[in-house]
Symmetry: C2
Subunit: 281 residues, 2 copies
């Protein structure tokens, strides 16, 4: 496994691979890798000739007061984990190369960003789309893989790729969970052991909604009320949002008479966690 | 010369060329070609192996009340002219392929768009940056050439290419003028013979400013006042703006003690014309 820091070097490397007819797969990450990331890398190995993992904690997608400065980082650990997953290149550009002096260009959307995390984190997806576009231009992959835990991000990136005619296929990987059901997240390491117990409420509320739906409760309002009640019964939880919405448009739906996305964001102490599930009636 | 309409076909064609190690040059246009466009195509032939000319009248860069519906079009004439300039591919995507149903992604800048045409045409450069990004992804050129008549556009695109890490070299071509000095523009065909005489005022005001500068007048305010007076002495002219500004930041400068951009937009009847010149003290 090779480590590349320079944008120009990354571009030359990819150009060389593509000229040899190789398929490049990009797995963009913010590092502090976990089994969720590794599952995407292994899928990348299956799909292409070369797997590039980018590690860049993107300041543009953190709002004021969010956890940019405390976001967990451990590059040495990340390198070992990526190597064990068969990754070919770790790409770790510097912040001053990604956002040089005078930087002034951004990408945004007006519709899909009006829902879920787009409302609680204004500017977040603008930052995501901008950095993902930059990474696409730096790495020039034919395939890029994103995790389904960030469901709205995945939806927005699919839309962006289609709208901007990127010649890139977007693939997704299922949420990977801890044995008890908690969705893997780099932020989980920040939970105290008490908070770790409360964090399970996200998963349990999704499971409960699916069960209640199968028992005949199709009203989103009622399903959300029950989820709210379950989550708040755990100490230290503050609900940011719980929505049941159309899996494509992300618009709220009132009756779950077809597959619907249940998505939620909950703060456990200072740690903001998200999770989601497609509810199937 | 070949004509390609399909985005997918264009991408496959370019991918094939690049795999063979060829350099692709893109000259983006809105058609109704003139000698200015042809000079960019000939420069393209010199710089690369394949020259692609895109012809697409981009609705996203026209505001309400602007001349989208009356913008001159003549594809047959364009094909002949491009062929005579040695162009390899004319790429004419359909509007519904460029902006399909549900389209929602755009590119914008906050600083360079605050000046010159950015103020009189809100959203114009957002439309330009979005379509140019799309064309870059459709054609995948290593080099793209833009005319210097659209000076602010060129500046904004250079910034965008740098900011978004496009692996594309941006080249520019000097303004090509009619024998009397009028800058070539597809819109010139819309001028009546009376208006055609008034249209020369743009060029003459730039020449006058350069002469006055060499005669010792370095105050922007005074140079602009003289230009205003000259232009308004021609019938049917309405000045949109005249600015003397820094050629990189496009911010106004008060004293021309170094090379400065003089840029102006003038309506002659219903036809909005632009022109510019680097004033050199």
């Amino acid at each position: 496994m090779e480590i590349i820091k320079s944008v120009k070097e990354m571009q030359r490397w990819s150009d060389h691979c593509r000229k040899q007819g190789q398929t490049i797969v990009l797995v963009p990450t913010m590092g502090y890798l976990h089994e969720g990331h590794l599952s995407l890398m292994r899928e990348g190995k299956r799909l292409g000739d070369k797997v590039i993992v980018s590690i860049f904690v993107n300041p543009a997608q953190f709002g004021p007061g969010e956890d940019l400065s405390t976001y967990p980082r451990d590059l040495k650990r990340d390198f070992h984990m990526a190597e064990s997953a068969g990754v070919d290149i770790i790409f770790t550009p510097n912040e001053w190369d990604v956002y040089p002096k005078g930087f002034d260009t951004y990408i945004d959307q007006e519709k899909l960003t009006l829902h879920l995390c787009g409302l609680s984190r204004p500017g977040h997806f603008k930052g995501v789309m901008t950095v993902v576009t930059k990474l696409f231009h730096m790495v020039a992959p034919q395939i890029a893989i994103f995790g389904e835990k960030d469901y709205q991000q995945l939806t927005i990136i699919r839309r962006m790729v289609k709208d901007l005619n990127f010649d890139i296929e977007i693939k997704s990987g299922a949420i990977v969970r801890e044995p008890d059901g908690l969705a893997m997240s780099s932020r989980n390491v920040k939970l105290s052991s008490e908070q770790r117990k409360s964090a399970l409420a996200l998963y349990l509320s999704l499971q409960q909604a699916q069960k209640q739906l199968l028992d005949g409760e199709t009203r989103s309002e009622q399903l959300i009320a029950e989820a709210t009640s379950l989550i708040l019964s755990y100490p230290g939880t503050v609900i940011d949002y719980i929505h049941i919405c159309d899996p494509d448009s992300l618009e709220d739906i009132t009756t779950v008479d077809r597959p619907a996305l249940m998505a939620l964001a909950v703060k456990v102490g200072t740690v903001r966690l998200i999770d989601n599930k497609i509810l199937t009636p």
